[in-house]
Symmetry: C2
């Protein structure tokens, strides 16, 4: 019987590559898409396409209303998504987002009997977001083993962050090798309802540069 | 100006006492009530009464659909709430619940500029729930300081668990000293819509025994 894993899946380029990697490592993949009042609902439709295309055993959607808390351009419509590079941690940072995502993944993993959690944080995000660094992943893994019934009873949870030290181009090359169709994915912070990208936000710029550097044709649908 | 604190408030006896304690320590209190598909929606009405009675600066309600995941008598209607003591971790354990609650509190704290989080885990829960132990609180505090922009920039988050080593009777005595009206609170795992308690579940039995041991009159409304 295959080992189960829970994969955090946003429907973007990174998490889709992680799902393909987990599958290639032989895991039965349970994909978790968290909706948190973000602007890019198109990502959730992408997560459904991706989960189906990559043979996930299940796609579970969970909702939490982070828009009630705000504090980020991704949850508060009054904060504009930046269209030029910024110094420091950008306004698209969502306070404690990956802590929340991993908490939900951990609870589901415990119910499923899975011990392996996959999250698509990477070195490019590292430069901006605190919860995309190795220290964060290590701290959450330590927490998981004292926070759960399974952990207290001796199970060891493992937080896999296979993209951590990869550049965007590396990620795209790896996904292409695994046969990922990146045309299914949505990375744009302000994609329209059809999933078409703006081509101007941080996320679009990183993605486009990644395809160029990887020498892989960019299948992203851009609007207008 | 008062220091801000985020208080996880379920509307039960323990978290209400924690709110009263935080207030008595001079904090401006931001109460967070998380609705997670639990059976006892009466708790949320209790949280509103308690937040008003104890002068919270705000009560924020957040919702997350843990019922989609199940795995606990508190989130899955197909699992019965036990009415007799059990050995080990009871079926009312909700996988990773306090990790999730503290994640939500941490995100809100970062938005508010608060560095102090209060949670009402205690020694009685300790015996059953893994995420009510000192090791869990310490691990989450370590995580908070690497998971957030504020932490990375040098702020120190503190997770306060003032009930950790207190018995139920101790908690009730402390609350009574602070003038808490426990008639406003709901602890029962299967309270009815008017907030009346069953008197039979684990939580009811612990609570009733606590009032008896503390020598404080029990104001709990019981049904039938």
């Amino acid at each position: 019987m295959k080992k189960k894993a829970v994969i955090l899946l946003s429907g973007g380029l990174d998490s889709t590559t992680v799902l393909a990697l987990a599958r290639s490592q032989g895991y039965e993949c349970y994909a978790l898409a968290v909706s948190y009042g973000q602007r890019h609902v198109a990502e959730l439709a992408a997560a459904q396409r991706v989960a189906a295309a990559l043979g996930a055993a299940r796609l579970q959607q969970m909702q939490v209303n982070l828009d009630a808390v705000g504090g980020s351009a991704l949850t508060d419509r009054n904060i504009a998504v930046p269209e030029a590079p910024v110094d420091g941690i950008p306004v698209t940072y969502v306070p404690a987002r990956n802590t929340l995502f991993l908490s939900l993944a951990l609870g589901w993993a415990e119910v499923l009997g899975a011990r392996d959690l996959f999250i698509g944080v990477n070195a490019v995000d590292y430069s901006g977001y605190p919860d995309c660094r190795p220290a964060f992943i290590e701290a959450f893994e330590a927490l998981a083993n004292v926070a759960t019934k399974a952990g207290v009873e001796g199970a060891r949870f493992k937080i896999h962050a296979p993209l951590l030290t990869m550049s965007k181009a590396d990620i795209i090359r790896e996904g292409a090798r695994l046969g990922v169709d990146y045309g299914l994915t949505v990375s744009c912070y302000q994609a329209d309802e059809q999933g078409r990208a703006c081509g101007r936000c941080d996320s679009c710029r990183l993605r486009a540069a990644g395809f160029a550097e990887a020498g892989v044709p960019d299948p992203t649908p851009y609007r207008g």
